[in-house]
């Protein structure tokens, strides 16, 4: 058996919970971001692009690239690498842009 990241740092997490991803329960640990919870389940894509409909997920992991956008609790275009996976968080694959009222 190979080592896991949790074993490396001797993690003893507080009790976990689940978030909802497209109707499917996904385990999450307290303090993990949504993107981290999805990666832990082997899920790497949760958005399709506006022009070519291609799958995308987290790329930069630090809030800079905006590739990890998803609809979170009904709010479109949220950066899942920044938002915590809280108990009951609902994440929906975002199709296309879903540009909210933001200025860039």
């Amino acid at each position: 058996m190979r080592r896991t990241p949790a074993e490396l740092v001797g993690a003893r997490p507080e009790p976990g919970h689940t978030i909802d991803f497209d109707g499917r329960p996904i385990p999450a640990l307290p303090g993990q971001t949504i993107a981290a919870a999805l990666w832990a389940e082997g899920i790497l894509a949760w958005r399709t692009t506006r022009v070519n409909g291609r799958p995308r997920g987290a790329f930069c992991g630090i809030g800079a690239c905006y590739d990890c956008l998803a609809t979170v609790n009904g709010q479109a275009s949220q950066r899942t690498c920044l938002l915590p996976a809280e108990p009951g968080t609902t994440v929906t694959t975002q199709e296309g842009h879903g540009r909210a009222d933001l200025a860039v």
């Binding site: 001797g10 993690a11 003893r12 997490p13 993990q32 981290a36 995308r56 905006y66 690498c81 938002l83």
Partner: protein
């Protein structure tokens, strides 16, 4: 305390933007020298990129196993807790207004829903860096992540993007990333480095003056050897394969100009790729106000500072990666140095020497990993340059060759490359290169992050 315009308390003596190694060192030093200091950071915990660490809920008993020099960080956070510094987490400063006092406008909260204005007599910009990307066919596939992103997700979330992860690009971060991935249980079949590391040999004196860096490098090297990781120099990933996620990469050798050498391609199976070509200083808060910049040895744009780390704008200082990428030790030294200058305290000779040595080493690293002009040969017409707006190489080349664009700004207007959510952070270097402009200018980015329109209306 965050302020609202109606209840304006006295401005702080110093606002430090960014709680990475540079900003942390600056804030605690300034407070210990008697300044009223506020420290703002977009993230929920101090540490910045280098000292990114798991949330308390993950119960990590040994976070230091993912870091070199963890005690330097616990030293800083201990001083922070004991200090008078007002630490505002999840405050992303989107613009800085200059006047008699500085007014910093920030979005508040992980979802940027709140807002705050903070006033201060002086500002220190310690906003760090983000990674430079050079596109290649397949780089938008799920499973292709940035090298620093893989580090960040591992350090904070204790997760990996795959089980067999190729690490590629250029720069010292690749070795650090590969070393952590291996320690955390991932297989790393290869570290693919475009540079040849010969540049380091030309700077042996500088290397000898930075023994800590050699020890750190040796630590990575030993872990990589134990993990049976192969370092391929003068090579690049020229394509990532897969339909809905990456299943393998093609690696080719590069000539001295970074042109792929035909016939040298070989395929490596993997389920993830962590890629990056060094770091770009994050300086838009200053450049939008007209701060002067310098070009670093690896062709990135950094803030121009004097030996007291003053930028060209009165009342604005910079420390760490904003003055040119150079690592956590340098960032700490510069944070401390800037704070002393701002507080009017003397700068100890040993501190200045430490800083100058680290800066020299940074220059050496930058030169050794400067991208060669031939990298564009691995692009194909249908490769996306701009990930956000899905603008292809063919579209950018058309703007340049047929429509006569000669710089990034014109290419952007003609193609939308760089106009999406990330504001050109991912495609900027590639677009600048393809547009053939010899002059590198700071990217134009009026707001540091997308801001809810209601906050924009309030703030002005």
């Amino acid at each position: 305390m965050p302020t609202s315009p109606s209840e304006r308390p006295a401005p702080y003596d110093l606002a430090v933007i960014g709680a990475g190694p540079a900003g942390l060192a600056a804030a605690v030093t300034a407070a210990e020298l008697g300044l009223r200091c506020v420290l703002l950071d977009a993230g929920p915990r101090p540490g910045g990129q280098y000292y990114r660490h798991p949330a308390p809920g993950l119960g990590a008993a040994h976070p230091e196993r993912l870091h070199h020099g963890w005690s330097a960080f616990t030293g800083l956070t201990g001083r922070l807790a004991a200090s008078t510094v007002t630490h505002l987490t999840e405050h992303h400063v989107w613009t800085a207004e200059q006047g008699d006092t500085w007014r910093l406008h920030a979005t508040v909260g992980a979802g940027s829903t709140g807002s705050a204005v903070v006033e201060a007599k002086a500002v220190l910009l310690a906003t760090g860096a983000y990674e430079r990307q050079l596109p290649f066919p397949g780089w938008t596939l799920p499973g292709v992540v940035t090298a620093g992103g893989a580090q960040a997700m591992l350090k904070a979330g204790l997760v990996l993007p795959g089980r067999r992860i190729v690490v590629a690009g250029s720069g010292p971060l690749l070795l650090a990333a590969a070393s952590s991935l291996v320690s955390a249980g991932a297989g790393v079949p290869a570290v693919v480095e475009a540079g040849n590391y010969l540049g380091y040999a030309r700077g042996l004196g500088t290397l000898a003056a930075n023994p800590a860096k050699l020890v750190e490098g040796a630590g990575h090297g030993a872990r990589l050897l134990r993990g049976k990781v192969r370092l391929r120099r003068s090579s690049a990933v020229v394509e990532a394969h897969g339909t809905d996620r990456v299943t393998g990469v093609t690696v080719a050798r590069l000539d001295a100009e970074w042109r792929p050498v035909p016939g040298t391609e070989r395929r490596i199976d993997c389920d993830a790729l962590a890629v990056g070509h060094g770091l770009l200083p994050q300086i838009e808060l200053a450049t939008e106000l007209g701060a002067e910049t310098v070009l670093t040895a690896d062709r990135t744009v950094a803030l121009k500072v004097d030996d007291g780390l003053r930028t060209s704008l009165p009342g604005l200082w910079a420390a760490g990666e904003t003055c040119g990428v150079g690592g956590a030790d340098l960032a700490i030294a510069e944070g401390e140095l800037a704070a002393r200058v701002i507080a009017g305290a003397p700068v100890p000779t040993a501190l200045r020497r430490r800083r100058d040595r680290r800066r020299a080493f940074a220059g050496l690293m930058a030169a050794a990993h400067r991208p060669g002009p031939g990298w564009t040969d691995w692009l194909r017409p249908d490769t996306d340059v701009c990930r956000c707006e899905e603008v292809s190489v063919a579209a950018v080349r058309e703007a340049v060759e047929e429509l006569g664009a000669t710089d990034s700004r014109t290419v952007k207007l003609l193609t939308r490359a760089g106009m999406g959510w990330c504001q050109g952070r991912m495609c900027g270097p590639a677009v600048a290169c393809l547009s053939g402009s010899s002059e590198l200018r700071p990217d134009s980015r009026p707001l540091s992050c997308p801001v809810p329109l209601a906050q924009l209306a309030d703030g002005s």
